[in-house]
């Protein structure tokens, strides 16, 4: 049953999604692309769409994947998709309610304790690795093409985008729009 599987996956994403949207991507990729509910290309497209629309990437991806995954599993139609997106979006925020309401007092009180300090000191380098793994996972033929010609063009777009994002203050949305225009011209 696709919906139960989606609930289980998004519960894990909500519970273990430390370190913000990009770090969550590795988890989402494993849970959603791994079982083949959406293709690798669709996953990247969702990240792009999330960047261009307001709101957190975690919500955006839950809503989009919740809508698309049932159709991929044979449940075609807007109603099935709508049901999926409502379920995924609610499930991914559910742990937040319990954790924030019930542990906030504990964390505030023990902010200086070895437990809290140690755990977060240990998580920090892991989060860097999680984000890096998301980048590595996306460097594949689905996103860069499989013919030499396509790969070269894609790598150039990737390097140029990186330089713009990293060295200038140009907004990422503008970078995506520019990359889209470039794609329209050269592909």
């Amino acid at each position: 049953m696709i919906y139960l599987k989606l609930i289980w996956s998004y519960l894990k994403i909500g519970l273990f999604g430390f370190g913000g949207g990009y770090a969550m991507l590795a988890l989402i990729e494993r849970e959603i692309v791994g079982p083949g509910w959406i293709t690798e290309q669709m996953f990247t497209d969702i990240v792009a769409i999330s960047q261009m629309t307001p709101g957190p990437i975690g919500i955006n991806s839950a809503t989009y994947i919740g809508y698309v995954a049932p159709g991929h599993a044979g449940f075609n139609g807007i109603i099935w998709g709508l049901l999926g997106s409502i379920i995924c979006t609610l499930v991914v925020v559910l742990p937040s309610f319990f954790l924030v309401t019930y542990t906030s007092h504990f964390i505030t009180r023990h902010k200086e304790s070895a437990l809290i300090k140690g755990v977060f000191a240990g998580l920090r380098p892991v989060v860097v690795g999680l984000i890096a793994s998301a980048a590595l996972l996306l460097m594949n033929t689905a996103n860069f093409g499989s013919e030499t010609d396509d790969i070269i063009k894609s790598v150039i777009i990737c390097l140029a985008s990186f330089c713009i994002v990293f060295f200038t203050k140009i907004h990422p949305i503008l970078v995506i729009i520019l990359a889209g225009i470039t794609g329209l011209i050269i592909f």
Partner: protein, 190 residues
């Protein structure tokens, strides 16, 4: 009731107009909650933020639950979180309905646009790797951790490629390392 609606509408506005995820939202939430509505003192907001960012889950949702809970309990956190979620949900739903994977694949114009966008998305994820590595103050010893984590997750080896494994190990390892360090320091001062 009035404040519940205000909570909802404030977070709805924030959810509808902030691009770029959690951290971009924080400064706007702070402006609305602390400076405009005076619902919470700045120092308390920073405490809530510390909690929200320590916990797993979506940062913007965590902070809205924390603020809502602080002001109006359960009802408050539901109103605030719903406000944060709803704009994204509606916008993405509309996109998902009209921009189906088949359209992206079969429409030549849209397909080439996305071919250009995909490598740029990869670049957008490489950039925060470097900024977060700097923020984590990695040394030449600890830099091994993110490299190993990234390669193992990427390797797709069963079990070893599960990100949850490293989140759990990182937490436990950090605690053990931290308490050992504290013990050593105490012994050193004796």
């Amino acid at each position: 009731m009035k404040q519940l609606f205000q909570l909802f509408s404030t977070f709805f506005k924030i959810g509808a107009f902030t691009f770029g995820g959690g951290w971009a939202m924080i400064s706007i939430i702070e402006k609305e909650i602390v400076d405009k509505h005076h619902w919470i003192e700045r120092s308390e907001f920073l405490d809530l933020l510390a909690v929200a960012q320590s916990l797993p889950g979506i940062l913007a949702v965590n902070i809205s639950v924390a603020v809502g809970d602080r002001l109006k309990g359960m009802k408050g956190s539901l109103s605030a979180a719903l406000g944060t979620i709803l704009p994204s949900f509606l916008i993405i739903l509309a996109i998902a309905i009209f921009l189906t994977p088949d359209i992206i694949k079969n429409n030549e114009v849209i397909s080439s646009i996305f071919k250009g966008i995909r490598p740029a998305v990869v670049a957008l994820i490489i950039a925060p790797v470097i900024t977060s590595a700097k923020a984590a103050k990695l040394t030449w010893k600890t830099v091994i951790i993110p490299i190993a984590v990234a390669i193992l997750i990427w390797s797709r080896i069963p079990v070893l490629s599960n990100p949850i494994l490293y989140i759990v190990l990182g937490g436990i390892g950090g605690y053990v390392w931290f308490t050992r360090n504290e013990l050593k320091q105490k012994e050193g001062t004796k």
